[in-house]
Symmetry: C2
Subunit: 428 residues, 2 copies
């Protein structure tokens, strides 16, 4: 008696699912102890249905979600529509109707996950979403299973393929942000409105989910500070290289004495750091923990087959548990009360790039400002000025978010200084 699947949506990722089910049929059947059948597929309307049928897709297409959630034969509903609505309503309906659910919808899980996970738990149903973070990388299941024995202290991740593709072009080939974005859009990596990718919003969604699995804490999306890559200039990239760093958009979740801190920001990574060599659209999650120490999980962050692989892994797991009669275990069972870090406990080195009047005494003025906040310099670089203005770059030793705000406020209060950029620096 095969396990029956209802697909919500039949876009790129969804069509990768039958490919894997067929290509790896023997292995999958052996693992699940049963076979899987795609019983029904929800599409938007009759136009889409007719188009797909005409293109040779031989599925039972339906246009009303009730045809799936009210079908007593269907065991697992797989949601691959993306965005919040109607995905949220449909998943809720599916769970209320007693279906197990697989989803790849990070936006939804990061913003309304608590509610949906709670519903699944109350009903004793599985709700799995491995594909929601770093598409093809099996990071969530690894954190939930293999790292149960460990205590994670920090997770650093290159979590957005689009912005990493752009940063790779900017770093390795000296492209401007604008050129990198244009090419990313031409290649279909970036949408016409690239905000979610380039401003760190997409990565922040993933940071919310990683903090659940890594630290057992469900934080709100609003608790993840995010800064994007759109202000990074070729000058920043060149100075970073000169100082031994590579700039990338990095998600950073860590536990301090007072609680958890989650940030997404352009980050100076030391060239030798394993994340520094993650190129193009690839993603990687770097985990610091008291047991393993340092480990990294690397792979494609998106794409049809990688994402479908994670979705099918969830499907198999549910199928096997249905057969074993122990389905319903939460995807992530690690849970502690969420506690946000005090900004005074969140410390990093920082890079400051600013223009100052091209006359003597400016480094002294800067030193007084930083010193006044108890922040010490690690590296200082003054570039030849044009008689009017000169550019100074400072890399500091570790300072807290509180100190950072104070230093920035003081720099901004100097009417003849212009703070061009400030970015986090890893290491030190």
């Amino acid at each position: 008696m095969a396990i029956k699947i209802g697909l919500l949506g039949f876009g790129t990722v969804a069509s990768g699912i039958p490919f894997l089910l067929k290509e790896n049929e023997d292995k999958i059947t052996a693992a699940a102890r049963d076979e899987f059948v795609i019983a029904k597929v929800l599409v938007k309307d009759d136009d889409e249905k007719n188009r797909l049928l005409a293109a040779g897709h031989d599925y039972h297409f339906v246009t009303n979600v009730d045809d799936i959630v009210k079908d007593p034969e269907i065991d697992i509903v797989v949601e691959l529509m993306g965005r919040i609505e109607p995905a949220k309503t449909f998943i809720t309906k599916a769970l209320e109707a007693g279906k197990h659910v697989v989803s790849a919808n990070k936006d939804l899980i990061a913003t309304h996950g608590k509610e949906i996970i709670g519903l699944a738990k109350d009903r004793g149903l599985a709700f799995y979403y491995e594909a929601a973070v770093a598409g093809g990388i099996p990071i969530l299941r690894t954190l939930a299973n293999s790292l149960t024995s460990d205590k994670v202290t920090r997770i650093l991740g290159v979590l957005n393929g689009t912005s990493n593709f752009m940063m790779t072009k900017m770093v390795d080939e000296g492209w401007t942000y604008e050129d990198a974005l244009k090419t990313a859009q031409e290649l279909g990596y970036a949408e016409s409105d690239p905000t979610n990718d380039v401003e760190g919003i997409d990565a922040a969604y993933k940071a919310v989910i990683l903090s659940q699995f890594g630290f057992g804490m469900t934080i709100d999306f609003e608790d993840v500070s995010h800064q994007g890559i759109s202000t990074i200039t070729p000058d920043d990239v060149a100075v970073a290289q000169e100082l031994g760093y590579v700039i990338k958009l990095v998600g950073d979740v860590r536990e301090t004495d007072s609680g958890i801190s989650a940030q997404v920001s352009p980050t100076f990574l030391p060239k030798e750091h394993p994340l520094a060599s993650v190129k193009g659209v690839m993603n990687a999650v770097f985990v610091e923990s008291i047991g393993i120490g340092e480990s990294m999980y690397y792979g494609p962050g998106a794409g049809q087959k990688p994402t479908a692989t994670s979705v099918v892994a969830d499907i198999i797991r549910i199928g096997r548990r249905i057969v074993d009669g122990n389905v319903g275990k939460s995807f992530n069972e690690f849970s502690r009360p969420a506690q946000l870090a005090n900004p005074a406990d969140v410390k990093s080195g920082y890079y400051f790039s600013l223009t100052v009047p091209d006359k003597k005494g400016q480094i002294l003025r800067l030193a007084e400002i930083f010193n006044g906040e108890d922040v010490s310099f690690s590296q200082v670089l003054q570039q030849r000025g044009d008689g009017q203005k000169a550019r100074i770059v400072i890399v500091t030793h570790a300072l807290s978010l509180t100190q950072l705000e104070n230093v920035k406020a003081k720099l901004k209060a100097q009417s003849d200084f212009t703070l061009l950029n400030s970015f986090k620096v890893l290491g030190d």
Copy 2:
């Protein structure tokens, strides 16, 4: 009612287990739904027992394995003694007495795994060994769980920390093999007899286990060809760099049309390959598959806490399954008849380094030999000779193991040629 553990051996790794059980107690108890107690610890003799007690280790030490395997209270036996005997006898006794077993013993599992795994399966007992491959990297469970939906086509791994430490010194700092070995021994990374590490035997054990999890095929240790790093010269390292490669000892398991091929050998990795930046004692497993495409799992290959983290992950999994009442699932359920590849199907580029008489016409002679076997050159480098001899380096396009043997035989048949080294080249 706590789950009781009997430890066989109390060396470095074993003593990391109570550290993790205590440090992560809440998380572990929540995951397993029960707590773990180390009930008894087997040591060699009374001397060791008294030494450990005097050092403040507060365990119930025993010197006879029967005190553990015949204790009806003990649920899980954890073997951390290493080597084949008496580990094999003790694990067998434990399984026969109905105990679940966790082991980190790659030598044993690679050479006698079939027998032990079969016994565990027959008795419906768990036999888990995540720590046996790449210590702290959760690669086995990831292959068994997350990659069930995928079809692995090749696994490439930096699987031996000792030799990778040495190769890193040889590549990054130009050290000789002898200097690198001496330092590795001084630092405790290499044993006084370093054969297992430097000749690829340890990595070959791991390749055997990886082929079970990645390809479902149990091959014999003898089926893994292994070549070590002891013949690599500073000249090889320098030429590799000049041509854009990094030399590392790489385990390589892949499926060809005719079957599986498993090799451990010094390998020229393109500088941009993710494995090329794996430095020092770190390990990494790079997986090529039809779903995810390329993924990599990076972390420490050995060490007390990393290895203990993997062991405790196995313990938690067994504990949870005991509580859930579904213990006994094999660690790896993917199994197909083992089929070895035809050498004619196993293809790679190769590097040849040789000395030839320092007179004209030598490249022509070489070209005739390679051409005669239908092998084409990708790169050729002739170094200035000393009037007597000249060194020539050739990198070929892909050739099969059959062609490789033929070319080598023909080169050796030329009495005035000396084949210094030949290594596999990745890419192309």
